[in-house]
Amino acid sequence: MTTTANESRALDEIKIGGLGSSRKRVEDDRFIRGKGNYTDDVVLPGMLHMEILRSPLPHARIKSIDASRAWALPGVRLVLTGEMMATRNLAWMPTLSYDTQAVLATDKVRFQGQEVACVIADDPYIAKDACELIDVDYEPLPVIVNPWQGLDPDAPVIRDDKVNQADNVIYNWEVGDKAGTDRAFERADVISKLELHYPRSHPSPIECCGSVADFNRATSKLTVYMTSQAPHIIRAAVAMVAEIPEQMIRIISPDIGGGFGNKVPIYPGYVCSILASILLERPVKWIEDKTGNLISTGFARDVYLKGEMALRRDGKILGFRMHTDADHGAFFADAQPSKFKIGLMHSAFAAYDVPVAHLTARGVYTNKAPGGVAYRCSFRVTEAMFFQERMVQAAADDLGIDQAAFRRMNFVADDDFPHRTPLGFLTDSGQYAKCLDVGLKAIDYENFRQEQAEARKRGRLLGLGISTMTEPLGAGNSREYDILGIKMFDSAELKVHMSGKAILRTGAKSQGQGHETTWAQIIAHELGIPADDVVVEEGDTDTAPFGMGTYASRSTPVAGAAVAMVARKIRAKARKLAAHLLEVSEEDIEWELGRFYVRSSPQTGVSIQECAMAAYSNMPDGMEPGLENTAYYDPPNLTWPFAVYIVTVEVDPETGVWDVLKMVAVDDCGVRINPMIVEGQIMGGLTEAYAMASMQFITFDADGNCVGSNYMDYLLPTAWETPGFELHSEVVTPCPHHPIGAKGIGECAAVGGPAAFVNAVMDALGETGVRNIDMPLLPDRVWEALTYRRDVSGFPPVRQD
C-alpha cells in the first residue's frame, strides 16, 4: 500500500483506545476472576484481628469499663479503651472540619454505635467473643434525634467536652444579598414556599471499611492498607494524629469495593488498628461489619429546608431564599472544602437566570453518627439540587404554568456564559434548552399529558416528574477550595519507557470508576500511544504523586486534566527529540496522532515510540535523558455538567405503591472519555436516586435507637425493583477550560435524579393538593397523603405504638 505525500498517517484514535472509545475495562480482568485485592484480602504474616465494641445507648455517661474478662480469654492480645487512648493523647482526633471527634469514648457516648473499646485477638471470632466480655456501666442521658430537640433551650449539651460550647449549634453561615432579595420578594406577584426534609441516607458500598495496619519496629515505618478514597489526605492526617513523621507513613488503598464518599473520612477503627499495631509490633486487621458501617460511618444528607421563591406572574423567577438546618450528628466531621460550612449548597439554582438570592445555613449536633457529606453528593449539591427542583415544581404549580415551560423560560440562555449565579458561582457552558427538548421528546411529553388526563377519568393515577440542574464538579481552584488547608489540586506522573510503553500514576483513587482504563485513553489521545500500552496505578502514597483523592466527581476534572497536562509536557520534549532525529529545527515539526513529521515533507516523520527510544539512546546535546514528567493541576474553575431527568410513574391509590413506567436521562458532561463507562456511572447514580426516592433511609426512634443500621431495615433496591434507564448523550457542550473539554459525571444522576421521581409521584397526586411527601416515598406515606390529602413528613423520631 502506498500513501501520497499529503495523506495523513495519523493513527485511528478509536482503534488505539483514545477519547470516545468504549474501550473494555482493564480492571475487569482481575475482578471477573475473583482476583481483586480488597483490604480484607490482604494477609500479612503474624496478622491479628481487631473487633470494636460499640455503645448500645445513644447518649450516656460512662461510669466504668471492666475489660478483665476479655483480657483473660485465650487468644486475646490487647484490649484498648478510651482511657488507654487518652494516655497517648489519642482518645480524640481532629476532624476534617476543624472539630474534634472521639476515637474511643472516654466521658460519654454520644451516639448509638459509637466506638467504646476494641479487642485485638488471634482470630476475628475470638475478638468478637472478647467484646462480649467487656462490661460497661452506662448512665443514660436524654436523647436528641433531630435539630429541633437540639435547639430547645432545655436540651442537654451534647458536646460538653468542648470548652466554649454552650448549646448544640455548630455554625451559622450565610451567603448572598439579603437586602436585594428582600426587595425582590416585596416586588413579587406570587411567593411560593416549601418546607421539607432530605432524610438521612448512607452511601453503603457493599464493601465495608477496614484497614490492615503494619508498623515495622525495625524500620520504624508504618504501612496501612485501607479502604480510602484519598490516601494522601490520610497520610497527612495520620502524621498529625499519630505523630509519626510523614515520610515514614505509607498508605496503600488497594481495590475498593465502592466508595461513594463513605471512604473519605478517617474513622476510629483505622486509628485503633494503627495504635494496636504499634503497640503489638504485628500487623492488625480491622474489617467492620455492615452494622458498624451503617451506624457509625459517614452518612449523607439529613438537612431541613425552608425555601421561598419570589415570582412574577408571567413565570419569571425574581429571587429565592433558602434556609437549611443540617443535622451533623455528634461530631462535625464533614469532608468538604473548609470555607463552606454547608458545602456547595449555594450552587442551587445555578441553571436558572435568577438575579438575586440569599441563603442561610445552620448546623446542629445530635446523638447520631457524624457526617453529612457523602453519597455521591458533590459536597451537598445533592441537597441543593433536590431542594431547587422541588421548589421549582411547587412554584410552577402555584403559578399554574406547565412544568417544562416554567423551567425553559428561566434557564440561563446558551449565549449568556460565563454566567455569575446570585450566590457566587461562575457557570461557563451549557445548552440547557436543548437538553430539555431531548428529554421531553424521549418521554413523549405531549402524549403523556393526554394519557394522564384520560387515565385520571378512569381512576388511574399517572404522574410525570422533571428535574433539571447544572452542578459544580471538580473541586477545586486553590483560591477557594481546601481541605484542612491543603489545596485541592491533583496530579499525574507519566513515565514513558524506551520502547514507548508507559506507566502512569495519579493522585486519584478509583473505587469502580475505571481510571485504569480511562486515564490511559487520555494518554492515547495526547500522545498516540495505544491505551493498551499504558498501565495505570493509583493508591500507594509511596509511589503516587500527591493528590486529594476521588470523590465529589472531581477526578476527570482535576486528575484527568493533570493527565492531559503531563502528556503534553512529554509531547513537548518528544517534539525536541523528533527534531533531533529528523535533523530539522523544531519550528519545522508538525504533530499528528502518534507521530511527528516534517511540515514540508509529511512522509518524513518519526513515531512517538521512536522518540521515546531516542530519549534514552540518542539525545541532542544538552538535553536531559529520559521521557518522564509530573504535572500538578490547579483547576481554574469547576466544571458544569448539565442534566435533565424525566420519570413517569403510576401510583396505586389503594396501597400507595408506585411503579416507574419510564425513566429518561439526558446528560451533558462535555467530552466523554469512555462512553460505556460514563453510561455506567449515570446508571449507578440513577439507581441511588431511585433508592433514596423510594425506600432507602436511616431514621431514629424516640429513644435514639437507629432504624436502618442493617440491610433488613436499610433497604437497597434489588434488580427486581430497579427500573430500566434510557440514556441520552446527544448534547455535548465541552468544558471551555478543561484540557480535553471533559466535565465530571459520576454524581450527576444521584444529584438530579431523586427530584424527578418525587416530582412524578407528586404530579400523580396533583388533584389532592398535596405539596410534599418527604423521601423516601414509601407506600404508606403515599397512601396517607392520598387518602387524607395532606403533606407527609418523615423526620425522626419515627412514630411507633
Binding site: 475473583g34 465502592g258 440513577l686
Partner: protein
C-alpha cells in the same frame, strides 16, 4: 503442610470442639479441621485462601458471598462450613478453565457489568445457576434470579445485559 500455632494451654483446647470434614472446592478435594461455628464464607476465604468470595453484610441480604454448593447458589455467610462435608463447592475461581474464561465472565466484561467488582463473583454464580437451569432466560428471569444479590455501582441494567450475552454465547456453543 506444617502448621505452628500459639500454645494456649490445655484449657483452651478443651473449649474448642473441632470437626473434621471432607469436601471438594472447584474440583479439588480438601480436608479440614474446623470449629462448627466457622461460616462457610470464612472457610473459603481464610481456610482455603480463595478471596474472590466476599463478605458484605451481616444479615444475609447482600449476596456478595454467593457460591454454589452441589450446583445450587447459596449465601456462604449463612451456611456453617461443617455443612459442606461431602459436598461440592464452586466459587468464582472455579468458573474459568486453565485457558478460557467462562462465558459469564466474558459477558460481564463485554457488557460493562461491573464497576467496583465487589458484588460480581456472587452475581456471576447466581447467574450460573440460572443459566444451568434455563438456557434462554428473559430479562425478567434474569432480574428475578439475581434479586438476592445487591449492587450499588451499576444499576443492574448492564448486569442483565451481561447475563443475556453469556446465555446467547452458551446457546451458540451448545
Amino acid at each position: 503442610m506444617t502448621m505452628v500455632v500459639d500454645d494456649l494451654g490445655d484449657e483452651a483446647a478443651d473449649e474448642f470442639p473441632v470437626r473434621r470434614i471432607k469436601f471438594s472446592i472447584n474440583g479439588r478435594k480438601k480436608a479440614a479441621e474446623i470449629e462448627p461455628r466457622l461460616l462457610l464464607a470464612d472457610l473459603i476465604r481464610r481456610g482455603v485462601g480463595l478471596t474472590g468470595t466476599h463478605r458484605g453484610c451481616d444479615t444475609t441480604n447482600c449476596g456478595a458471598c454467593t457460591v454454589l454448593v452441589d450446583g445450587r447458589a447459596i449465601k456462604s455467610c449463612t451456611m456453617l462450613a461443617v455443612q459442606v462435608d461431602g459436598r461440592e463447592v464452586t466459587t468464582v475461581e472455579g468458573l474459568a478453565t486453565a485457558s478460557e474464561l467462562h462465558p459469564i465472565q466474558e459477558g460481564f466484561k463485554q457488557e460493562h457489568g461491573l464497576q467496583c467488582g465487589f458484588c460480581t463473583p456472587g452475581m456471576m454464580l447466581a447467574a450460573k445457576e440460572l443459566l444451568d437451569r434455563n438456557p434462554d432466560p428473559t430479562e425478567e428471569d434474569v432480574r428475578w434470579a439475581i434479586s438476592g444479590n445487591l449492587c450499588r455501582c451499576t444499576g443492574y441494567q448492564n448486569i442483565v445485559k451481561s447475563v443475556l450475552w453469556a446465555a446467547e454465547k452458551l446457546r451458540a456453543e451448545a
